[in-house]
């Protein structure tokens, strides 16, 4: 469960990240965050990850209060969140399997759990056969699927994706979005910032529309723009 109450984020250089945002995302929801570049999509996601701290207002993610949270608790917040980025951010010197296992090593999971869960995550994204391959031998779509496997391997309750298809061709984008939908079907809350108008329009999910730091529209089964 994620809740924003009158959240404003101003950056030190005077830029407005987010203005007076209030919303609630229930467990198991799928939300698209859309809007032009610089409209505050990334700020919204960064606040959930506590990469940024709100200037004003309150942010709740799972059982954590982001607005007054000691630094030492940040790792525990993030263990409940999976993250995927536009640029995949895989480790080039580790194989696909190792990249996914790394996420479990970092949170000190037992080798037994690692051996059990990594193949499950890889199977879910359809990369079981490429476990021993290095990222640079994979296509962009495959790399993003590895990143997805890494994001979900620790069973987070929320998956946050910041323009996950930004570097991919339309067909591959659909594959990734379908995977996100599948992960959502399994009960994970999914929040996706994106520019993919077609996909947003067809998937009929909840959509936040941002402009200059304001949420100007929040509709269930919405479209990319207002124009309908």
């Amino acid at each position: 469960m994620i809740e924003f109450k009158n959240v404003t984020k101003l950056y030190p250089n005077g830029c407005i990240g987010l203005q007076n945002a209030t919303f609630k995302i229930e467990k198991g929801e799928f939300v698209f965050v859309v809007g032009p570049s610089g409209s505050g999509k990334s700020t919204l996601l960064k606040l959930m990850l506590r990469e940024e701290i709100p200037t004003e207002g309150e942010v709740y993610v799972n059982e954590f209060s982001i607005h007054d949270m000691p630094r030492r608790e940040v790792p525990y917040l993030r263990r409940g969140l999976g993250v995927v980025f536009q640029d995949f951010r895989l480790l080039p010197n580790k194989t696909v399997y190792e990249n996914v296992a790394f996420a479990m090593q970092v949170v000190e999971a037992s080798p037994k759990d690692i051996r059990r869960q990594v193949p499950v995550a890889l199977a879910l994204v359809g990369l079981s056969k490429k476990a021993k391959v290095y990222p640079d031998q994979l296509s962009g779509g495959e790399q993003q699927r590895v990143a997805l496997a890494r994001a979900i391997v620790n069973n987070p309750s929320v998956l946050i994706a910041d323009e996950p298809t930004g570097n991919l061709d339309p067909e591959t984008s659909w594959e990734i979005m379908n995977l996100l939908d599948e992960i959502n079907q399994r009960g994970t809350t999914v929040i996706v910032a994106t520019h993919e108008k077609n996909i947003v329009d067809q998937m009929k999910k909840r959509v936040f529309n941002l402009e200059r730091g304001r949420i100007i529209r929040d509709v269930q089964e919405g479209n990319y723009t207002n124009e309908d």
């Binding site: 940040v74 993030r78 951010r89 480790l91 790394f102 090593q105 970092v106």
Partner: protein
Amino acid sequence: MKIRTMKYMVKEGFVNTYRNLLMSIASVTMVIASLMIFGIFLMLIINFSYNLNRLKAQMEVVVFLENDATQMESANVELKIKNDERVLTYTKITKEQAFAELVTLYLEDTDIIEGLTPDFLSESFRIHLKNVEDSAAFTEDISKLDGVEDVTYPYESLKKLGTVLNWINAGSMAVLTLLLIISVSIIANTIKLTVFARRREIEIMKYIGASDWFIRWPFVIEGVIIGFAGALIAFVLTSYLYNSVESFVNAQTFEYGLSELVKMVSLGNVGGQIFVIYAIIGVVMGSIGSIISVRKHLNV
């Protein structure tokens, strides 16, 4: 922390050190240089204070009675000395013994002491104190007694030597501080290279939810490896250098008949402590250096 996590940290630490081999070697060299310079000061201090203490221990307070002091006065002074808690040992030198000493001293120039009898000399007490620092107070107390002519003690000159020792101490501390700062910043720079090479990894770890210490440990271990390697090599070099200096000094003092006056501490007695000091300084420098260099990257 779990044991397999520890294994992972140590392994990463070694791998990092190896990947940065050239810079690691540069850092180790710097640690060696600082520790060696510090070590030279340290050995100076150890030997200086050792010899100072030896001299102090050899020093005796000598109480001369008046030439015509009565038996009563003499017994009283002896009683006072005997019962004084500051006294370690004392010897009474009678007029006859003093005369005998004089005779042996001038065995070949008997004309100097011709006509002297023991009665010309005074009784005296030679006293070793438990603590040389008490000399002044003790001397003052004894001087007040009836029948005491004079009390001599050699403390003042030793005090000056003590001041010199303090200066050497302060100087070496200043040098050590300066060298530590330089070494720490060089180690920090070395590890910064590793941190930079691994910044993506650190970022990913932060997003996945690794704790700060989980990220920091491999770098701290890298620093510790550098510091410890430096300490080890510095210790070997110091030992070698010290042994050469020791045999040189011993040969020289023997040649000039000063062997009793100046003695160097043998390395066997202090080597262990020196190594521990080196290792602690090296390891602390390494850890501080790496913590400094990771700090910036942890704020994601």
